[in-house]
Symmetry: C2
Subunit: 341 residues, 2 copies
């Protein structure tokens, strides 16, 4: 059945009514307007023909596509799949569909993807791309389209955001190490032009101070990206500084893996010689060698909340520019221990 997709007109014809009546019968909200018996007829005809409303036509008329677009740097980064699933699940509940775009942190790509998304008339946008200065911001604001930020705080931007509470998370990490007895704690920060990189670095400094430990600038190195190789390079740099330390707070798990690699190279044992704390609790961080103590972020929930916010905005519910920060949790595993020295 239904070789060609049936049109509303055909359904109406089969049911012996006018297309407009069929339309109303098919739509739950307007269904009350049409006679019960007619509804049955139409529904049956629709079923027999395998009718699927053409969402293009509908969207054209109603100016809503029930589609939202999501931009992220790279789906291959284990951070994102849970977030995307969260978004998708929450969206699915509301019969919304997700369009995905990987930017690779390339502004050109980002612009191009954004353009096609606008061209497709997405009802809303979820931006999980990390760069702090987005040149499109004003265009988007102009377009008057709901936007929700994920994993980055809103800077001078009228949109709500959802993220893990980085300040609290770094606090968890620092205090965990301090409570174990560490005093000379190093930080391998992320790129400082990414909001998470900057925030975690600042929080690190703040928490060290609030613990009464003056952070040594020589024990703070910035990685050029949130990936293993860059993390390893930064760790090498850290050793080059030749300042003793007993623990490392890495800006994310990938960087922590980079630390692992360099530490192993130097025959240093984790956690006996150096304790390492990661950030994100990405999948399989508990399977590393040793299992990584890290800060767990409710990624899935972040995705869900972001989608819900977008949906709220689309429904014209005012959500303001709130910054939703979800509480992190310390996942203590085996990469941290009391300092040996």
């Amino acid at each position: 059945m239904a070789l060609k997709t049936a049109t509303l007109r055909e359904v109406a014809e089969m049911a012996g009514v006018h297309p407009s009546t069929a339309s109303r019968a098919l739509n739950p909200e307007s269904r009350a307007l049409v006679n019960e018996k007619t509804v049955t007829k139409v529904l049956e005809a629709a079923g027999r023909l395998g009718y699927r409303p053409n969402s293009l036509a509908r969207g054209l008329k109603t100016n809503r596509t029930y589609t939202i677009g999501m931009l992220l740097p790279d789906l291959t980064n284990p951070l994102f799949p849970p977030i995307v699933r969260g978004v998708e699940d929450a969206l699915g509940q509301a019969d919304y569909t997700l369009i995905l775009g990987n930017t690779d942190n390339d502004p050109d790509k980002e612009g191009a993807i954004l353009r096609t998304m606008l061209s497709r008339r997405v009802d809303g946008l979820v931006l999980a791309t990390a760069r702090r200065a987005a040149p499109f911001v004003e265009q988007l604001a102009d377009a008057g389209i709901p936007v929700v930020l994920v994993n980055r705080v809103s800077e001078d931007v009228p949109w709500p955001s959802v993220s893990g509470d980085d300040h609290a998370g770094i606090g968890l990490a620092v205090r965990h190490l301090v409570s174990l007895g560490h005093r000379r704690i190093a930080h391998i920060g992320g790129p400082q032009d990414l909001s998470t990189g900057l925030a975690r670095y600042q929080s690190f400094v703040a928490w060290m101070q609030s613990e009464g430990l003056e952070p040594d600038p020589r024990l703070i190195v910035f990685s050029t990206s949130f990936h293993e190789v860059a993390g390893a390079a930064a760790t090498v740099e850290l050793f080059a500084r030749d300042v003793p330390f007993s623990a490392i707070v890495a800006a994310n798990d990938l960087i922590a893996i980079g630390c692992y690699d360099v530490l192993a190279e130097r025959q240093l044992n984790v956690p006996k010689d150096v304790s390492v704390v990661g950030y994100n609790d990405m999948p399989f961080s508990d399977k590393l060698c040793p299992p990584l103590t890290t800060i767990h972020i409710p990624h899935y929930t972040i995705g869900v909340r972001a989608a819900e916010l977008a949906l709220d905005m689309i429904a014209k519910r005012d959500v303001g520019a709130q910054a939703l920060r979800l509480a992190p949790a310390l996942a203590i595993r085996q990469s941290t221990a009391v300092p040996s020295a």
Copy 2:
């Protein structure tokens, strides 16, 4: 600029031409039909107004949405992100957009997602969902929409497929173990109602035989899913059989991790006491403890090829029902060694 998205009519008006002319000027293929100077005028007007064609209207008219849908069980499974990226990248090249749907292997969900995708008039479909018996097959065939299968062979189905060459991959694993001196090799298979589970099991048996080793049925256990816990349960079952073995070929990396867990519990060392080979070479399998020897599958390329096939089919190029099998590679790491006994 461009508070409200500009319409073609407005662009035409600004350029002082008829909408149809503007349309032709804007579209590269029909651009040749219109005077060069007019084209310039139109293009400029479009630029000034920030015109973005309404793809809904266009799709309605042309019956093409430049959209393809992709169904997969769960994005959170590390297997999929690289595939999805491959699909998305290849699609992006051709100005196509990807719509994603997670089915969780739930037929109802799968049906629902499929319906919305058809309702959205996707130009093609990439099915990476693993279950073997799909009730929608006939409906899709009827709908006459291009479909490409990923990671599952086409059984009685008129569509092309792209996957890793499981037979060759299992061969790599078995021969690697045999060459190390293993003779009593166990297999923890995947669910047998999933095509990959079945294929890998059958290949295991075949390769054992071709190596002159009669596979012991007591050393073959099937996991109820492709996940760690199920893999661990299957490993427990394997030990319960109380038949000696020196190596395990796991149907995928997650199951291999399950093996790791049970082995560790029993104080058995990998690879000294038992060698383990995984399958898929998923991200971070090289960071496991010990780094997992596994079969590398070119996931990204699989995604790219699948997208290209879909694009070909959309372009009415006949691709037939070919089954594209991409060559796997053996990634030797530290979970395999010569047997101790």
